[in-house]
Amino acid sequence: MRSRAAIITVIAILLAAGASMANPGGNGDADRDYTCGGSCHGDPALSTPSDGTVSVSVDNMAFTGTATAVHVTASGMSLSGNRLLGVFLLGSIDGNGDHPEDHGWSIVQDPNGGSRNYVEVVVPPSGSVTLTWVMLAPQTTGSVNLFVETHHGSNPNSNNWAYSGLTRGYTVDVQPVPENLPGFAFDWKPETRVTGDDNPTVIRTTNTTSVSVQWMLENEWIPHDAVVTGEGDEWLAQIPATIGDTRIQYQVTTSNGDFSITQPWLTVATQPAPFDGDIWDARLQGLALALLVTAFLLSLQARLSPWKGGPAEDMTSEVEAETAPPEPPGLEPEEPDEYWSRLVPSEDNPGWLWDPVEEDWVADPQNPPVGDE
């Protein structure tokens, strides 16, 4: 019966382990090809089509080297317990060379504030999320495609399926940029700031004689004007520091007298302050703790263990009780009550008691004799 219970327990533990999937915590934002170049989500034996809906909003015409925004809305998909969704923005779906930059695009900013084509987001309880990539169109004219792929899990997920969804290709017709059109410098990417840093944000432009910047907190409706200084192709915009989980968005308008172009909204990318410790701090601290813990425990062991010269416990009474020989018959010590009860008082000798066993007079403790006898 017990062995059966043990076997059932082991099987239950093994089945519980089966509920865990390959990378439920995600892989982090990165530059990736279609299906990560052959992941679980791309393996026909392990994956299944996504049950969600993905819509993409992008202008079907862009000028070479100018900024354009790609809005991706994903909704209605099953999600794993941590509600993680991975979204790819791709230039092709070959399995390699799929990054938009392989097709001439330059990612100015991804939805998480970086410049990656694959990002992971936690989907809010509404089940819908909109992500925006700001990109600079290729420098060469022609038609280019953009695809969006989503990866997610499901809860429960008894078959351990890796869900994968792919949109059709969205064609963007890239036209020659009008001469002297102001815009971002092609190699410019927004800086990532540390939390609390309020240093001015550097914006590099081309064909621009003046820049204005408006900023607002995410979900705020009315933007504020930022102070902008600079000249030529480099400008400094004074945008407040980000603190905590707040996100600040800003929009740059580049002008040169002939044109005034309002660029897509960007997000101030914020990262936590760099970690203070280094590897040698960690090694030294670990080693110090190891030595201290060992020394402390060894001293405790020494304190609790028997050692030469240590305070020996007094066991005399126990030893004597176990080893003392019994008294000979007739000489066993009598109980005090029994002794006093056998003593007889005498009227002739007040203060004295007669012991008939010992045949001797004993002084009465209750009525002590008066004077010498």
Partner: protein, 200 residues
């Protein structure tokens, strides 16, 4: 060829596997010693105690021997850089686990198998093993957090601080190391010599 991360994973599995065996057997010995009638006195039987004692010391020795290899390979897997509190704490908990396991092994070797016959020593050894396996599982759980973004500790009520780290100044760490080394020297060389406790 294989990467440092793969090698580190293999070494960590050896350490964790050995240490789980060692800690289970040590806790069994402690329980048998403190509660002799547990499981119908079968846990405290001489044969069972002897087997668990040998398994615990063998597992702990094996794990302790592999801890430096696992720590070094982990360091290489992280490109010898510490970029966040989680990774920093992995080193700190590795140090704590090493300390507990070293004390467990040294204590068992110095005092002999007879230590399980002393309730106080037996309890101390059991607590040491429990703390050691807790630190070891914390280290491996942080590894899971770093690589997979999840850990078994996520569903357990115990989760020691790991996201933020207390970084000691290296000078303070060196001073603590000197204190630890001095204390070890005092305990092992200057203090009363612990006698090996022979079994009855």
């Amino acid at each position: 060829m294989f990467g440092a991360a793969t090698f580190h994973a293999a070494m960590a599995e050896i350490v964790v596997g050995s240490m789980v065996l060692a800690s289970l057997c040590a806790l069994g010995c402690a329980a048998g010693s403190i509660f002799p009638n547990l499981l119908g006195a079968r846990l405290a039987s001489e044969r069972m105690m002897l087997t668990m004692d040998k398994a615990s010391i063998a597992g702990a020795c094996l794990g302790l021997a592999f801890i430096p290899i696992a720590a070094l390979s982990g360091s290489f897997a992280a490109d010898n850089t510490v970029t966040n509190g989680l990774l920093y704490n992995k080193f700190v908990y590795t140090g704590l686990a090493t300390g507990f396991w070293a004390a467990f092994v040294i204590g068992r070797i110095r005092l002999g198998p007879g230590l399980w016959e002393h309730r106080s020593l037996s309890a101390l050894q059991g607590v040491t093993a429990a703390m050691a396996i807790l630190m070891t599982t914390m280290v491996s759980s942080i590894g899971g957090k770093l690589v997979r973004g999840e850990s078994l500790f996520d569903i357990m009520p115990i989760w020691l601080p790991s996201d933020s780290a207390t970084v000691l100044n290296p000078i303070v760490s060196i001073v603590l190391m000197l204190i630890g080394t001095g204390s070890l020297f005092a305990v092992l060389k200057l203090g009363p010599k612990a006698e090996r406790i022979e079994t009855d």
